[in-house]
Symmetry: C2
Subunit: 401 residues, 2 copies
Amino acid sequence: MNEHIPPDFRVPGFLAAGLAAGIKKTGVKDFALLYSQVPAAATGVFTMNRVKAAPVLLSRERVKSGKGRAILVNSGCANACTGQKGIRDGQRLSRQIASALKIDPREVFLASTGVIGKPLPLETMEKRIPLLVASLSSGGLADAALAIMTTDTKPKGAVVRGRVNGKEVTLAGIAKGAGMISPKMATLLVFVLTDTAVSSAALRKALKDGVQESFNRITVDGDMSTNDTLLILANGKAGNGRVLPGTPGFKKFSILLRDLLSALAKKTVADGEGVTKVVRVLVERARTASEAEKVARAVANSPLVKTAFFGEDANWGRILCAAGYSGAPIDPEKVDIFFDDVQVVRRGQGAGPEKEEPATAIMKKGEYTVRLDLHRGAQKAFLYTTDFSFDYVKINASYRS
Amino acid sequence: MNEHIPPDFRVPGFLAAGLAAGIKKTGVKDFALLYSQVPAAATGVFTMNRVKAAPVLLSRERVKSGKGRAILVNSGCANACTGQKGIRDGQRLSRQIASALKIDPREVFLASTGVIGKPLPLETMEKRIPLLVASLSSGGLADAALAIMTTDTKPKGAVVRGRVNGKEVTLAGIAKGAGMISPKMATLLVFVLTDTAVSSAALRKALKDGVQESFNRITVDGDMSTNDTLLILANGKAGNGRVLPGTPGFKKFSILLRDLLSALAKKTVADGEGVTKVVRVLVERARTASEAEKVARAVANSPLVKTAFFGEDANWGRILCAAGYSGAPIDPEKVDIFFDDVQVVRRGQGAGPEKEEPATAIMKKGEYTVRLDLHRGAQKAFLYTTDFSFDYVKINASYRS
């Protein structure tokens, strides 16, 4: 077991499994199954890339019903840019899983991650389906978290518990990220299981809000993948009064879900490819939220800023410069910049050479905040970003080999 | 002398100089002056960053007159984010140069490049102005090309000659680039001298068109600097019939200028930070030019695509993926992708494993074209981009130290 997987990592009414099916040549776990023992409400969000992998196309269609029972995931092959064959392969796997679990194929969701443009090794996978189903257990989520990893260095799991409509409920999630983490979710697989009784409509709304405050706030390299998938199943086993939109119970459930997603998002960004720093870019006192977001994204995605984070170099000029080309109509001569509490820029100019040392000390930390005060209004936005390291280049230059 | 500086690198009626003034601690050349012996037409284009360095603010204002005589350039300090003091320092240097050359301070343009946020070492620079002026010579352009370098590894110069309105004319240019090369020109200093007789209006129009086809078509890291400056002086010494907009002579002059700027732009991108490959991203058969450009920019700026270029990995999935998130409404199932002549994607899917080897062979070259055929219309766009290497991170992680 791993410190990144919480203890007692299970949700009533759900089983999970993860094993090595031989999809990856390295012999590590690469095939996972999540399963609700009873019918469950379901919803999901998917990549906005025009290029959508076959499992995304299938899952997106099926989740429209608002319900589902199983999630079949593989790493090692994205099943993207595989045309009609990719769709047929996905349908075939769905039928086999459905038949083994005695559910409807339309209750099966699929997700894949790995190299783009290669077909799934279908026979290899089919051969392992009986073992995968036989391995299902209430404690299997940790194995599933391992099986969905690609260049992740650690499995990522989180759990939150709380009272909703009179009952104790559990929400647990696993995530994989690392490469291509970006604005608007990217090669990110996230699966959340909960025993909360909640209507499809409430689940959809809570997920939409929660993603906005978690996975849409992280960025590693600005790329957006073909396979992003976030799915949530809610099976009602907790026996709470059913959560409906706009009720006090909905608010409580939404906060629990947001907290879970935020915890997973932070773990994901911290495990980004070659990451040595996690930096929160906070833009305050913008005239509009969209203006704040533009500035935050320009700073968080600038390769020059990110290499300076890696080099622990308090090169605030690059930060101000990125804000300047963000497209937001900022007034550079009003901007203040802080590294945590240390002000390095006052009204568009260096706050003094005596700030170099304390600012550099902050940059040596693994996690800190870069705050830009635009002095234009009352709106703000934040993003979690990372540094750009030698290892980022190394991992991505040789990913396929 | 250097292979990157052409032989006989001079323009009638212009003098130039470049020397080590001690602005950089390393003792290399860092101070340059270009000077027209007679009044000259002048125009320029500047950074679109909201954060504009003091020399940009001064030069942009002065060039509105359509004329000028001298360009004073320093490396080692950007004089950006230096507030009113930066402006006053620039004005003071202008007065001193003007007095030494016996011209009007408003005929002096300034450009600076280097670290943001530090004031110019004014005394150090002032002390060297007499020597800089005394060093002016018709063969001094090569020294000036050296003096404007920052992380460039080579001085960059180009010259073109041709007949315009009955006379042989010369256009010569020097450029510095390397860091922050990006869409819409970025920390790029480019200075062009010509003896062509040309009206201010014609010069402005020819420059605008020429930049669009050269420096606006290169990208290294997507950043845009505070100091971008491209200036051109035309002193009429060739004695040709004056070039006016919309005439046959204008067309000839425009082509010469475009060719010069293209040559400088290609040298600049090839000398980008840590660059080992120059890749032309060509997008064809788009419905609109702006759609073609969106796709080209997404591919050319994707860190995952650029690290694959560095790794010589024919990972076309990343290219198609970047096209998919470009914002252009492409149909992924219609897209073809080629590495030079080798088709790697046919209608959104891999063109076959037998293409891997020839595609990889092309990626081992220093320069090649990645072509995307969208099958949507008749418009196209191209960009020169580069790979993302270990050295890019190394150079930028430690630039200030």
